[in-house]
């Protein structure tokens, strides 16, 4: 799990004194307690959750149940089963992570290795767009999606994809351009001389070489989309297209007392990002560093 570079271990000269060690472990424990509480609660019977602190579970560890999980998956939110929202989240998150990155990769290639007038100027404008808060564009975009010029057939999940693609575009182009422009120019020039087209160079050379950057950006975008509430809530239309975050907020609002359902629901919602995150942690950290820790 540990990655050598960022989590690295330089053997020589350990400098952490006992005080520092205590501070770190104390904070690490403190940071874990809330999640641990949720985890334990999600396996306790309804009565225990509602009338008793989760820390009392340790006194009687045999009292555990799966009921909360089966209960939440069968639970109806706005007339839909909770599990439908799980699949909605998958439907929203995977394309919303892939689409902007592919489009940004093409653009980043053009901005790095194709020659045309105003190239640097265009890049500056794109970077400048990172400043625009997505909140600022919600109302006009919604009017456009609901208006006459946008095909009705695409409303729903597709609209959420497009919205996420729009909001992810500036950062994706920025990071990928930085990476792709840093690839060795000799290889690309050599391929050009051999008569390879830009499309060939892009798909056969640049994409395979950019896997680390694309992977880290993909994880970042996936986590962001999976955990998003605002964009889906605004652009998704009815409950049929909404992700799990929507269902959870709805349950918090309407079933505020059914904590046995909320604990299990929150954990179901967390499982996918935790798996993605823990298995791809290495890329994630490396990708973040490519963008920020250059000095």
């Amino acid at each position: 799990m540990a990655d050598k570079t960022p989590m690295g271990t330089r053997v020589a000269g350990a400098t952490t004194g006992p005080v520092g060690r205590v501070i770190v472990w104390f904070l690490a424990a403190l940071w874990t307690v809330p999640t641990l509480g949720l985890f334990i609660s999600s396996f306790r019977p309804e009565d225990d959750i509602k009338t008793d602190g989760w820390w009392n579970w340790f006194k009687n560890p045999a009292r555990v149940t799966w009921d909360n999980y089966s209960g939440v998956l069968d639970n109806k939110v706005n007339g839909l089963q909770f599990s439908e929202f799980f699949w909605n989240s998958v439907r929203i998150a995977i394309p919303s992570a892939i689409i902007p990155i592919v489009i940004a990769a093409f653009a980043a290639y053009a901005l790095s290795w194709m020659h045309f007038r105003g190239r640097d100027w265009l890049f500056v404008v794109i970077v400048g767009l990172m400043v625009v808060p997505l909140q600022m564009t919600l109302i006009p975009l919604l009017q456009f999606f609901g208006g006459d010029y946008f095909p009705d057939a695409l409303e729903g999940v597709t609209t959420i994809w497009i919205a996420h693609a729009i909001f992810g575009m500036p950062l994706a182009i920025f990071l990928l351009r930085n990476f792709i422009a840093g690839l060795p120019g000799e290889i690309i020039e050599a391929a050009r001389v051999d008569g390879a087209s830009h499309l060939t160079i892009f798909t056969r050379l640049v994409l395979p070489l950019s896997v680390p950057a694309i992977a880290s950006l993909g994880i970042f975008q996936f986590l962001w989309v999976w955990n998003d509430l605002l964009v889906a809530k605004v652009f998704g239309g009815g409950a049929t297209n909404q992700p799990m975050t929507f269902a959870m907020v709805d349950m918090v609002g309407n079933k505020g007392n059914e904590w046995q359902l909320l604990t299990a629901g929150a954990f179901v919602m967390m499982v996918v990002p935790l798996i993605v995150f823990l298995s791809l942690q290495r890329y994630f950290v490396r990708g973040l560093l490519a963008g920020s820790v250059k000095g």
Binding site: T16, W31, S41
Partner: protein
């Protein structure tokens, strides 16, 4: 787990998927055989065709499965529908670039290159128009009132004169200040003391874990800390009667539109909990990049560990710290989800600009005020990005 995995039309699905797999296996055997038979000159085209064929097969299978099973209530049908949506999205994307490039290739030589460049850029530029045009429209929207009548700068005047709005504005500023400083300092502290410690990776993973959790999930998690009921951890630790931590909008008895409420402070703790992992990991990586000799030299000159850290290490990683703080402040100024869940949509004086923008623009149906809030957010973010990019440029030139 009932909902996710119940059965419905499984036999048909297996048949369809089986057909698809068989087709792919046959192609995997057939394609190389055909390729070997072809003249070398034609092989690149043939392999492109083969890839297209494979993509079309996957899409065809998912479409067939969807036609037979999609749209139903069973789990299998949900999975099939999901697969169909996802493949559709990806196929549409590939087709988009393929068609654009083909069209560009139809043009005669002096223009072909130009059109091909345009084909690479066009989708991105079109999407970016989705940012530029709405941002401009949004500014003009902000001059209209609830009934779509011209209101001039009225919305902005309201923002700075009504107490409730001042509270929203000052809350957002406090969010930016407190959470950014706290999580950056946390990041520096943990990164510093955990560096080269035994069990460093485990400790840092524990700190980083909340980063993957959504704000909505965090709201549920922290209810078990803040709740006034028996299961609220904090109330069980603190002496006295149970407190309603999330409803106390005064700051130790003082209520002012310019001060954050105690409830806001308690919600901030949750976001610090989420953000600290990010600062820790990035700052920690920067710490590993500080040359050992630099620290050694300072110590030979008689500096203590603490002095070496503050005088040598911190200045060395200054640009990283600024990057971390900027990223955090930009995220925090746009804070929304957690106000919706823990602040009950901004009740009890917890609202922030992003939340207010949503509440006004949608539930309250006052789009003009919502748009004005969005402009305020833009104006808040602008100087931060500007100063940061100037800093970075100065640094790059100084090297």
């Amino acid at each position: 787990m009932i909902g996710l995995f119940d059965v419905g039309g499984r036999g048909l699905l297996i048949a369809i998927v089986g057909l698809g797999v068989a087709a792919l296996l046959a192609a995997a055997w057939l394609v190389p055989a055909v390729m070997r038979a072809l003249p070398v000159r034609m092989q690149p085209q043939a392999s492109t065709l083969a890839r297209l064929g494979a993509g079309a097969t996957v899409w065809g299978v998912s479409a067939m499965a969807w036609i037979v099973l999609g749209g139903g209530r069973s789990s299998v049908s949900k999975i099939v529908t999901t697969l169909y949506y996802v493949t559709n999205g990806i196929v549409a994307l590939a087709a988009l670039f393929g068609i654009l490039y083909l069209i560009a290739s139809l043009f005669p030589e002096p223009f072909r290159e130009w059109f091909r460049t345009a084909a690479f850029l066009l989708p991105a530029v079109l999407l970016l128009f989705g940012l530029v045009v709405p941002a401009i429209l949004n500014v003009s929207d902000s001059f209209y009132d609830r009934n779509d009548e011209w209101y001039g700068f009225g919305n902005y005047v309201d923002i700075f004169t009504k107490d409730a709005n001042i509270k929203v504005f000052s809350n957002t500023l406090w969010w930016g200040i407190i959470v950014t400083i706290a999580s950056t300092v946390m990041g520096i502290t943990i990164a510093r003391f955990a560096d080269r410690m035994r069990g460093e990776a485990v400790a840092k993973a524990a700190i980083f874990l909340p980063t993957a959790i959504s704000m909505v999930g965090a709201g549920v998690i922290w209810n078990f800390v803040y709740s006034p009921r028996e299961y609220g951890l904090l109330n069980s630790i603190l002496p006295g009667d149970p407190e309603f931590f999330l409803q106390d909008s005064s700051l130790f008895g003082i209520t002012s539109p310019w001060l954050p409420g105690k409830n806001t402070l308690f919600i901030m703790i949750v976001v610090i909990w989420i953000q600290a992992g990010f600062s820790t990991v990035v700052i920690s990586a920067a710490l590993k990049g500080v040359p050992d000799d630099l620290v050694e030299a300072a110590k030979i000159d008689g500096a203590t560990d603490r002095q070496a850290f503050y005088k040598v290490v911190l200045p060395y990683i200054k640009s990283t710290i600024i990057t971390v703080a900027t990223t955090t402040v930009l995220a925090v100024l746009k804070i929304f989800d957690i106000i919706q869940t823990m602040g009950k949509g901004g009740s009890f004086g917890t609202s922030t600009i992003a939340n207010e923008m949503y509440e006004q623009g949608f539930p309250q149906d006052n789009e003009g005020l919502g748009a004005a809030w969005a402009v305020m957010l833009f104006l808040l973010v602008l100087p931060i990005v500007f100063v940061n990019s100037r800093n970075q440029r100065a640094q790059r030139e100084g090297r």
